[in-house]
Amino acid sequence: MLTCRNLGQLDTILLVKFLQHSDLRRRLLDTGDAELVYKSTTYHPKLGDALKRLRRSFLAANEARLSSEVYQSQAIEIVTSCCESAGSWYNEGDLINAIFT
């Protein structure tokens, strides 16, 4: 198991969801550097920001992975430590499958 610190609840659920659904991850990366705005009843006002953070961490992890195989652990660190507060854990095998396939 991989301990994941410094991750809020919203970031936690988004990371779990986008790791388990590769088509959603593809959609998120296809938005490039576009502004993501959540237009709803202000229930999760920070959802757009959390998604942008997640997208940036996925891009950084992919870059680290492309640069060298040695930095696999670093890429996992980048994905799991994308923001502030709280703590949670993930299956390391799932993470590696999600990022490196």
Partner: protein, 236 residues
Amino acid sequence: MRLFNGCHSSTHQTLKHKADSSDVIISSGSAGNREISSYRTGIEATHTSEFAAQHSLSPPAPYTSALAALYSNPTTPALTPMRHSATSALRDCSAAMFKHPHNTAAHPERWKAKTEATFRVEFRDDCKNTDAAYGFSTYSPHPVLYHEKMYPTSEHLLQALQVRAPEPLFSCPLMLIYYRKQFERNAPDLAEHIRTCSDDPEMAVAESGRHHKFRCFPKVDAVSSVAIMYNVPEQC
């Protein structure tokens, strides 16, 4: 080598004379001929004008008659002399319209802002599958596996993560212990209930909110005991 494919008109013949012996021209009609000559320079370019002169390219008769009727009308304001005040008012108005901040052509410094605004993905809870932002909302029907338990949507997972004993208004340790004990007594498996109650994320939110008021005070047991005492069917 010459290879001509398509119709053989008179303009095609003139083009054939001017073309180099090693050219390969594949075209299927007069439009193709014009396209080829427009991409070349000099002599070939004159062939289009010759073609237009020979075939007398002009707008069809109905359009020309309508335009003639429009411009021959003596009441048309463009032909009648206008008063000085009206002319100046029109000029001022057009100048103001040009200077208007919404006219980005007049304000080059705003061009970048306008293009940035176009690269903006807005999403709601009810995105369709064809939308670019489908699935970004927490209400989207994508099941999530977390701690070996399957949640119907990520909203269910969020509501289950948010389940905890509320803290008292003033941070008193004894009150905190009392709140936690009452929470364990009233809602022992609230997270599990939120996960399994329904596939609808709105239902998960509603269940979370409905049980929120019963988390720290023993109202649920009091209501049920009264219901048992007076043999009233419990409605909850």
